[in-house]
C-alpha cells in the first residue's frame, strides 16, 4: 500500500508570504504579505547633492533640483485605461462615507524637525520652516481610497501662460486690454481628485409608440376630399445594452473648485494614466477627494442611466412616444480614484476676481472673462434697431395712408430675429463671467 504520495522535503515558505492566524491548531497558514501602505509617513523631498528642496519638473519628467541640476526620473508604469478598477464593496462604500473629517493633520518634518499642520484633504505641502516639499497620504486611512493613478502634468506654467493669454484675447465682447494684459501670471499646478465609473446597463423599455398614418376623408362643410395625418398608438417594448467606460465625476468640493469651469477642461485623455508615485506631487499641490464615493456614484449613476434612457429612446423608431417606462439593471460596476492635472489662477479686473483653469495635460483653457458690457449693449441695440425702426415706419404709414402693413410685418420679423440673437449673446456674455 502506498503509505504516502511523496516524502517530506525541506520546505521553504514562498517569497512574499507571511504567516497568518490559523483557525485550526494543526494547520499553519501563510498568505501573501500585505502590500506596504503607500506612505504612512510624509515623504520629504530634498536634493541628495545639495540639500535644497526639489520638486517634480515637467520637462525633465522627474524630480529635479533647480540649484545643482540633479534629476531623478520617476519610475512608474503607463497604465492608461487598463489601470485597475475596483468594485463597490460594502466595506469601501462605508469607508468612503466617513470622508476626511475636518481635522487638520499634524506631520513631522524629517528635514528640519519642525511640526507643521496641513488642512484636511490636502495631500502635499511645503514646510514653512525649511521649504522642503512634502507628500503626505496619511490623510486617508483606507488603502483602497488612496489615489492609485494620476496623469502627470504635461505642460509647464510658461506654456500655460501663453495659452491663457491667447484665450483671454479671444472674443470681441471682452475688454481690449485683457489680451495684452499680464494679469494671469501666477499659475498653481494642482492635482484634482476625480472618480471614474464603469458599468454595463441592461435596459428594458416599454412605451406607447405613435406612428403617423395619412388618411383621406370627406369634408362635408367644404364639400371636398382632404388628407389628414393621424397618430396610431400601440404598446411596444425592447431591450438595450449600454456599456459605459470611464464616466468622469469630479471629487473636489464645488465651494472650493468651480465644477462649471472644471467641466470646460474636459476631455482628459485617460490613456496617459500612470501608477501613483508621490514624486509626481513633490512641489505641486494635490487635493484628496471631498465628494465621497457614494455621492460621486450617485452622480455617475444619474449620468449613466440618462445615457441608457437615451439609448432606449433611440431604439424606438418613432418621434411620438408616450407612457415611456424602463428598468435599467446595472452590472459590473467599478470605480477608480485618480488625480488629474489642472492649473488654477485668478486675476483681478476692475475690483472683481476672475478664475481661470487650464487642463495640465492638453492645455485646454476654461474660466471667467470680464465682459465689456457697453459692447454687448451696443450690438444688441444694433440688432434690435432695424426691426424696431421698420416697425415704427410701418405703424406710421398705416396711420397715414394704410399701406404700411408690409414694412410693419418685416419690422416685426426683424425685431424677433434680433431679439433671439440678443438673448443668445446676452447668455453667452453672462456665462463668460459666470463662476
Amino acid at each position: 500500500m502506498a503509505q504516502s504520495n511523496s516524502q517530506r522535503t525541506v520546505w521553504q515558505v514562498p517569497e512574499g508570504f507571511v504567516r497568518v492566524e490559523s483557525q485550526v491548531p494543526d494547520v499553519i497558514v501563510f498568505a501573501p504579505e500585505p502590500k506596504a501602505k503607500q506612505t504612512d509617513q510624509a515623504t520629504s523631498y530634498n536634493c541628495p547633492n545639495c540639500g535644497a528642496a526639489v520638486a517634480y519638473d515637467v520637462p525633465a519628467g522627474g524630480i529635479a533640483c533647480e540649484y545643482c541640476g540633479y534629476v531623478a526620473p520617476v519610475k512608474t508604469q503607463q497604465l492608461g485605461q487598463s489601470a485597475q478598477e475596483f468594485e463597490f464593496t460594502l466595506e469601501t462604500l462605508s469607508q468612503s462615507d466617513r470622508g476626511w473629517g475636518t481635522e487638520r493633520q499634524m506631520i513631522h518634518c524629517d528635514s528640519c524637525g519642525g511640526e507643521l499642520t496641513i488642512p484636511s484633504g490636502e495631500i502635499s505641502t511645503t514646510c514653512p520652516f525649511c521649504a522642503s516639499n512634502k507628500v503626505n497620504l496619511t490623510v486617508c486611512h483606507d488603502e483602497t481610497l488612496r489615489p492609485r493613478f494620476l496623469i502627470p502634468f504635461k505642460l509647464t506654467p510658461e506654456q500655460i501662460q501663453r495659452l491663457t493669454l491667447d484665450w483671454l484675447g479671444k472674443g470681441w465682447f471682452h475688454p481690449d486690454e485683457l489680451a495684452a494684459s499680464t494679469i494671469a501670471q501666477h499659475f498653481n499646478g494642482i492635482y484634482l481628485p476625480f472618480w471614474t465609473f464603469d458599468a454595463k446597463v441592461d435596459a428594458d423599455w416599454k412605451a406607447q409608440v405613435g406612428y403617423e398614418k395619412t388618411e383621406r376623408h370627406y369634408n362635408a362643410h367644404e364639400k371636398r376630399w382632404e388628407t389628414r395625418t393621424r397618430i396610431v398608438w400601440r404598446w411596444e417594448d425592447g431591450h438595450v445594452q449600454v456599456s459605459v467606460d470611464d464616466n468622469l465625476i469630479t471629487g473636489s468640493n464645488p465651494s472650493q473648485i468651480s465644477h462649471h469651469i472644471l467641466k470646460g477642461l474636459h476631455p482628459f485623455d485617460l490613456g496617459d494614466l500612470v501608477g501613483y508615485k508621490p514624486d509626481f506631487l513633490a512641489g505641486w499641490q494635490a487635493q484628496a477627494y471631498q465628494t465621497t464615493l457614494t455621492d460621486a456614484w450617485e452622480q455617475g449613476k444619474t449620468a449613466i442611466r440618462e445615457q441608457a434612457k437615451a439609448a432606449c429612446r433611440q431604439d424606438i423608431g418613432s418621434a411620438h412616444v408616450r407612457n415611456f417606462n424602463m428598468i435599467a439593471d446595472f452590472s459590473d460596476e467599478s470605480w477608480r480614484y485618480i488625480l488629474l492635472p489642472v492649473y488654477l489662477t485668478s486675476y483681478r479686473y476692475q475690483d472683481k476676481v476672475y478664475q481661470i483653469m487650464v487642463n495640465g495635460q492638453n492645455g485646454k483653457v476654461a474660466g471667467q472673462k470680464p465682459v465689456a458690457w457697453w459692447k454687448v449693449w451696443l450690438v444688441i441695440a444694433a440688432m434690435l434697431a432695424p426691426g424696431a425702426i421698420l416697425g415704427l415706419i410701418g405703424i406710421l404709414t398705416i396711420l397715414i395712408g394704410g399701406i404700411g402693413i408690409i414694412p410693419f410685418a418685416i419690422g416685426i420679423i426683424l425685431f424677433v430675429i434680433g431679439l433671439v440673437f440678443s438673448i443668445i449673446l446676452l447668455n453667452k456674455a453672462r456665462q463668460s463671467e459666470a463662476k
Partner: protein, 366 residues
C-alpha cells in the same frame, strides 16, 4: 508482519464474527462474497440473483466494523414501495407483483472503508473569501427615476500555502470495486447519521465482504483524505471556499475499519425468465432497478384487440351483404365497421407504447 497481514484471516466455517453468527458464502456467477446467517444456504446471491450462494472460504479482516447505518426503512414499508414501483409500468411483466417482490426481499449491509491516518506535509490552494458588493436597479416611470440598491455576493480568491500536521479520522472510502454502480442503484446515504457498530442493528441481514482490500482501495482513499484536508485548511485559513488544492504529504499510521450501509434487494423475472434485480436504499426507501414493460403481454393484448377488430370487420361485411335484402342493416354494418377500425388502431397502441417505454428505460440505464 505488516498490520495489514496481521488483521486478515481466512474464514472457512460458520463462526461468531463481530458479535454475530455468520458463515462465509460466495456466488459462483458474480464472484461476490458474503457472510450469511445460518440457514440461508439455499438463497440466491442477493446482488446478482442468478445463482444460489455456495459455501466458500473468505479472506477478510476480522476487526469489528466501526460504524453502521441501521435500517430506517423497515420491511413493513416495502409493500407500498413495491406497489408504487410496479404501478409505474403500464404493461408490466407478470412476475412483477408486490407480494412476490416482498417474498424475495433480502436485507444486506454493504461495506465502505473508514480510513484514519496521520498526515504531515505542505499544501497550497486558492482560498475563496465571500464579500458583498452593491449594485443598482433603476426604474423610470411617470417621468421619475426610482433607485433600488441590490447586494450581490462574490468570492475573492487569494493564494494560501502552509503546513499540516494532523490526524484524519473516519474518511469513507470505497470497499467494493463496483461502488459507483452500487451508489447509483441505492442513491446517497446520510453518512452523518451513522452510529457506532452494534450487532443488534445488523439483525438477520447478510453482510457483503469487501472485494477491494486496503492496498487496492488506497488510490480511491487518497483523494477522499485530501478532500477532508482541503476542508480543514479552508477552515484554518478562515476562507469559505477553496480551489486548486494540492498537497505533498506523508500519510502514516493508517487504520482501516468498515462502515456498513443498509439496503434491500429483490428481483422479478422478465419475459425471458431473466431475473431483474431491484435495490432499495435502507435509509430513505428509494428503489432502483430495470423496469422494462412486458413485450409478451403487450403482444397478447394487441393480438386480442386485432382479433376483435377482425371479427367486427367480418360482421360489418356480412351486414353490408344483407343490405340488398334488408337495407336498414347498412346502418348497423357501418357502425360495426367503425368499431372494428377503432379496435384495429387500439391493437397497435400497446406495441408502440412498449417499444417507446423500453427504449426510454434503456437510455436511462445507459
Amino acid at each position: 508482519m505488516s498490520e495489514e497481514t496481521a488483521q486478515v484471516k481466512i474464514v472457512e466455517n460458520e463462526q461468531n464474527l463481530w458479535g454475530l453468527v455468520r458463515k462465509p458464502a460466495g456466488c459462483p456467477h458474480c464472484q461476490r462474497v458474503f457472510m450469511v446467517p445460518p440457514g440461508n444456504d439455499t438463497s440466491l446471491c442477493p446482488v446478482c440473483m442468478v445463482s444460489p450462494l455456495e459455501d466458500q472460504p473468505v479472506r477478510m479482516r476480522l476487526s469489528d466494523p466501526e460504524r453502521i447505518l441501521p435500517f430506517k426503512t423497515s420491511k413493513a414499508h416495502l409493500p407500498s414501495i413495491y406497489s408504487g414501483f410496479a404501478a409505474s409500468i403500464w404493461i408490466r411483466p407478470k412476475d412483477l407483483m408486490p407480494e412476490i417482490l416482498l417474498e424475495r426481499t433480502q436485507p444486506i449491509f454493504w461495506p465502505l472503508w473508514l480510513v484514519d491516518c496521520d498526515v504531515v506535509g505542505q499544501w497550497q490552494m486558492e482560498a475563496g473569501f465571500d464579500y458583498q458588493v452593491e449594485s443598482a436597479k433603476e426604474t423610470y416611470s411617470n417621468g421619475q427615476w426610482v433607485s433600488r440598491k441590490q447586494i450581490e455576493n462574490r468570492i475573492r480568491w487569494e493564494p494560501r500555502v502552509g503546513e499540516v500536521d494532523t490526524h484524519v479520522d473516519n474518511v469513507p472510502v470505497p470497499a467494493l470495486e463496483e461502488v459507483q454502480k452500487r451508489q447509483k442503484m441505492t442513491g446517497p446515504y446520510p453518512l452523518d447519521k451513522a452510529q457506532d457498530y452494534d450487532p443488534a442493528a445488523v439483525g438477520s441481514a447478510i453482510l457483503e465482504v469487501p472485494d477491494l482490500p486496503p492496498a487496492e482501495a488506497w488510490p480511491f482513499a487518497l483523494p477522499e483524505i485530501n478532500k477532508t484536508l482541503a476542508k480543514l485548511v479552508t477552515r484554518a485559513a478562515s476562507a469559505q471556499h477553496q480551489r486548486n488544492f494540492a498537497i505533498k504529504a506523508n500519510y502514516q499510521h493508517q487504520h482501516w475499519t468498515q462502515f456498513l450501509l443498509p439496503m434491500y434487494t429483490t428481483y422479478y423475472l422478465d419475459d425471458d425468465g431473466k431475473p431483474q434485480v431491484l435495490f432499495i436504499n435502507g435509509m430513505n426507501g428509494s428503489i432502483q432497478g430495470p423496469r422494462p414493460a412486458s413485450q409478451k403481454r403487450g403482444q397478447k393484448i394487441a393480438g386480442i384487440l386485432a382479433a376483435i377488430a377482425g371479427g367486427l370487420f367480418l360482421l360489418a361485411l356480412i351486414g353490408f351483404l344483407l343490405t340488398a335484402i334488408f337495407p336498414p342493416v347498412s346502418l348497423l354494418a357501418a357502425f360495426l365497421g367503425v368499431l372494428g377500425l377503432g379496435a384495429g388502431i387500439a391493437a397497435i397502441v400497446p406495441l408502440v407504447w412498449i417499444s417507446q417505454w423500453n427504449r426510454q428505460q434503456q437510455t436511462q440505464q445507459d
